[in-house]
Symmetry: C2
Subunit: 343 residues, 2 copies
DNA sequence: CAATCCGATGGTAGCGCTGTCAATAATTGT
DNA sequence: ACAATTATTGACAGCGCTACCATCGGATTG
């Protein structure tokens, strides 16, 4: 006794095939590999799909094919503006493709990351996007055993698990400090919060640039493991002033801190840039609007998200990039806060 | 000829059942309804699961049970800070539960929302969280036919599709304006960007508060459909000054605009709050840190996300709330930008 | 003590789709 | 013209799990 339609409204692939006058498997191929069908059948199936309003059952597809059409995304934070832009790129790029995004948040914990990767592996994603290059050995093993394209984002390094898209935080930071030095500043403070690996590399860029000018001094460095806020920028700056009153510039590992420093300067009547130059990192939108406008390092976050998805999808579908590592670079946006006085 | 293990390493529920010495269906019940098992079997299955490192196949589960363990979340923006907090609450709450989050972004398009809801419906989510109460008639129909708990978030209203958690934007805005009026201001400008439904209701709160004081004047209102930025705050404020030079306070529909106004005031040497009071909306972190600190309306975004997930999961599992609408309220954070001069 | 009920367990039969491979039709080379 | 090849298409047998019902011993009841 053959199976009847489970419910009056239930459209399965079988129904589509019947209406189109083909076998179910041919109808199935219509979705997976339409070029394999003759034009006449393709059109017949196509119109049957439309007529019946057929929607594939993803669970059945996944079960039968041992694959899903899910791209996993592992990021360390949902509140950080930086990731909002990356995510926007990711979601924008995934729309229109057959793939859907599964987002997971590590909250900057590498153990949580391990756990999440294990979870992802169990669900056999079609591709994976992970943040950074500092996975634990265990996480790396999981990634390598994942058997799907993997793209590491936000930064680049020498040994990609698979593919990478990002930029060099070290170089970006080094460039920012070089710029500040060129303006004639000598005592350049460093303000850092939540020293994640990328922030750490920004510190190294700062340190090496300062050392190259024989100006590095540990007293100029103030960091904390506390998450970044604007308020924290002011607090750290106050700390810095206590330790080293005679500073003439501050480099902040992100723009929130930089804004906090600017506000603290306003509170203390420190004239920017006359008494103090300020440089941030990321170039969030408000930096251009502040008074004085704030210098920052622009990074291509939206593009990073877009490229990450494109690279993963291309790899899934067999179009591997010639070059596995894509450097999206950065751009120093010089603004009033680090420019010579004009007034 | 019985089925063999597909691959040497493949652990299916059958393997677990075999090791535990129970039937597969009993092992299955261990996950779905552990109380139904006798304690001895429960322990046996439990240790078998652990010993084999069994991970359920979600696709098979979904196919056989006609359900998924996915909670769909529909929001209008990924870049808006407001949603970052809500999302954080949502993801935090979903962790530890069996449910996973599927995020979709409408970009403030109600047509896109319709399309996404249709997509979700096809995948039979266990629950759904959608933003706002202004769905199209079609979207509402889809939601009602969804056959799963639905929570509308960000605002509250009279006719929930199912459940709601949010607050009254009208009341919050009305309260903010009342506060400004109490400070003795009379010409209060309104600055609005991307007039989505919630921003529209904030406008209505402003309008009615002003009308109640017989102070409403359309010339005081400047809005645009452009997305919000800090820079835009300055631009809109400049427009406002052109139209109505003699204003003594500005209410901004969000904090980014408020910050932009503050910067524009600094540029124009307008003293805040002496010459102009500024009030924002959302109470983003930087508001307390600005110079002068900026008054805003605090909303419980993180809690909103948490409650939304909890309510949906509870409803999925049969624990419907007594009251379907949850008002999380708001709090006016009065700061220097709207306080009487102290200096 | 039979009738009834209930909690615990198991057997059967798919869920809707696709991998594999065989079968057929169309095309080509010699 | 005939074998060999290549494009299309189809049949079959599950993927791993759970819904549905059947079963079975033991507790409850009058």
């Amino acid at each position: 006794m053959g199976r009847k339609q489970t419910k009056s409204g239930k459209i399965r692939l079988t129904e589509v095939a019947k209406l189109a006058g083909v076998s179910p498997i041919t109808a199935s191929r219509f979705f997976r590999n339409p070029e394999a069908l003759s034009e006449s059948k393709r059109e017949r199936v196509d119109s049957a799909v439309k007529e019946l309003g057929y929607v594939p059952n993803l669970a059945a597809r996944a079960l039968a094919s041992h694959r899903t059409e899910v791209i996993g995304v592992v990021i360390p934070s949902l509140t950080n503006n930086v990731f909002a832009d990356v995510l926007r790129g990711i979601y924008d790029s995934s729309e229109g493709s057959r793939y859907s995004i599964q987002l997971a948040n590590t909250r900057y914990s590498i153990l949580q990351e391990e756990k999440l990767l294990r979870l992802f592996r169990a669900q056999k994603p079609a591709g994976l996007i992970v943040t950074g290059i500092n996975q634990t050995a265990e996480s790396r093993t999981i990634l390598e055993s994942m058997n799907c394209p993997v793209t590491q984002i936000m930064e680049i390094g020498d040994s990609p698990v698979d593919m990478m898209v990002g930029f060099s935080h070290y170089d970006a930071s080094f460039a920012a400090i070089s710029h500040i030095l060129e303006q004639g500043h000598r005592r350049i403070g460093f303000l850092g919060a939540r020293m994640d690996p990328r922030v750490q590399r920004r510190f190294e860029g700062y340190r090496d640039a300062m050392k190259a000018a024989s100006l590095f001094d540990p007293n100029l460095v103030v960091t904390t493991s506390v998450p970044t806020t604007v308020t924290l920028g002011g607090t750290l700056f106050a700390d810095l002033l206590t330790r080293a009153a005679e500073i003439d510039a501050v480099f902040c590992v992100n723009d929130d801190l930089a804004l906090g420093v600017l506000f603290e300067c306003q509170r203390r009547q420190i004239a920017v840039p006359r008494d103090l130059a300020i440089v941030g990192f990321n170039d969030l939108e408000f930096m251009a609007s502040a008074v004085p406008s704030l210098t920052s390092v622009r990074t291509n976050r939206y593009e990073m998200g877009r490229h990450a998805v494109t690279m993963v999808i291309d790899a899934i579908e067999g179009r591997r990039p010639r070059e596995p590592v894509l450097d999206l670079g950065f751009q120093l946006m010089v603004r009033e806060s680090s420019m010579p006085q004009t007034a």
